[in-house]
Subunit: 277 residues, 2 copies
């Protein structure tokens, strides 16, 4: 059966599209890479209709962040999404999603101001607000997100459950370059030297995991020390949390989320590993 | 055709109910009166399935408010809802809607801290959060609310539009007792003397409307002076706003919302009138 991807831009067009169920949905900021495409392929395996959205959501960028220069490639995205099996590329316009009198905010209280949320005030409110909108517009049975944005997946799952959205969140493993660097649209910002230096990030995380310890101090210290050796990488935070709560590790913790943010030159990257206990 | 109302309590039961479309939804705190029933009848006229929810939402009551003593009458509600044409009474449990790890909040920023919102901090966040949940659980095509809670209707409409819920909000006129008092479950709190005194509230609003003025000072002063004559009624606020924005009245204002809150004994009542310009 031949497929041809359709690009929809208007909310009403997307809403009224006669999708076959189950409908799988992959929300993205565009500039698609293998990480996104792994989500699209998984959705294709599990769903009758696959929708990929491309929307650089201004609400989740803080002042001074890279909203204006965030990489974009509409033609590349279309070709890649189609090849990975998407039926629809939904490319809404900011002016339609956020009209002048837009005033509603969705927040996951208490969990949005740790880790990435502490570093990026308002970021997660922007993420869960736009996803509440997209869930209502697209109406998916299953939504696919990557483990690379661990806290995002955690908060979105909480929001879906708390607001009773009839959608199941599927979180897929981080896809990495052959040298270990987690796929990210922001990797394009790195120059050659920085790109090499950035591989220290996954190496540090793997080294911590390979200690066999699940003690937060040991894990964090291992990451810190490993990255300290790489002059082009400046660690912002490295933190070990209970993966089930994002809170501190306690005797009952069954899985540890070791996550970090680091600057490589001017580029801010995040990564994480899960460690069973 | 004989109808028999069904009472559903579990979220999953409600969600999977095979409703015929369009589905009309009347969310209530229970203790149904003619105001609610006018919404149910309107839904019955316009929809193939009519769902009435009864949930005294703890999230929208502040500390010191009347959550614990809010009037309840499950049997009366069932009989009245059935008589008015409801197919389903959805009576969720707080423990299912708000599990211990519940953390999500929906807010309509900037409009929740004026009028009723100023008097009841957190109230409207509680209202729009529970309605976002109920919209996802019930999945109505049309939701029916009363004009008596004018600011509530305004904020819920904003939330529905902002979050792209596929639901149309229908706001129905305030239903009044023969002597003018707006129907409210809280009227049951009034003793005989207070009940008589409370009729000064709609009289004051009608007197302001009947001045023929749409000047906010004139309208507010008329209400203030009229209620000042009734010793059992203590005015909390009377405010004239642009009905389309809830902001101040400006040259472009086409309809004025004149709203008030007043205490009659220990009972806090609200009411409003719309005045064309």
């Amino acid at each position: 059966m031949e497929r041809e991807i359709r690009t929809l831009r208007a909310v009403e067009e997307m809403r009224s599209f006669p999708a076959k169920r189950p409908l799988g949905f992959v929300p993205t900021l565009g500039y698609l890479h293998e990480g996104h495409l792994s989500l699209v392929r998984r959705a294709r395996e599990e769903c009758s209709t696959v929708v990929v959205s491309v929307f650089v959501n201004p609400l989740q960028f803080g002042p001074g962040e890279d909203l204006a220069r965030y990489p974009r490639d509409p033609e590349g995205d279309t070709a890649l999404a189609e090849e990975a099996g998407a039926d629809i590329l939904f490319v809404p316009e900011a002016v339609e999603l956020y009209p002048e009198d837009f005033k509603t905010e969705v927040r996951v209280r208490g969990l949005e101001d740790v880790l990435e949320g502490a570093a990026r005030p308002g970021h997660f409110a922007g993420v869960v607000t736009v996803l509440a909108k997209l869930l209502n517009i697209v109406g998916p049975d299953r939504m696919y997100m990557g483990q690379k944005d661990a806290q995002q997946a955690f908060l979105v799952r909480r929001m879906i459950q708390d607001l009773n959205f009839p959608t199941c969140l599927v979180v897929c493993p981080t896809v990495r370059e052959p040298d270990g660097l987690a796929m990210s649209s922001r990797n394009v910002y790195l120059n050659k030297e920085e790109r090499v230096a950035a591989t220290a990030i996954p190496r540090a995380l793997f080294a911590a995991r390979d200690t066999g310890s699940t003690d937060p101090d040991t894990l964090e210290k291992t990451v810190r020390e490993a990255l300290h050796l790489e002059p082009l990488v400046s660690l912002e935070y490295a933190c070990a949390n209970d993966a089930a709560t994002l809170g501190p590790i306690i005797p009952e913790t069954r899985e540890v989320l070791l996550s970090l943010a680091a600057h490589v030159g001017k580029t801010r990257l995040i990564d994480n590993v899960l460690i069973k206990r």
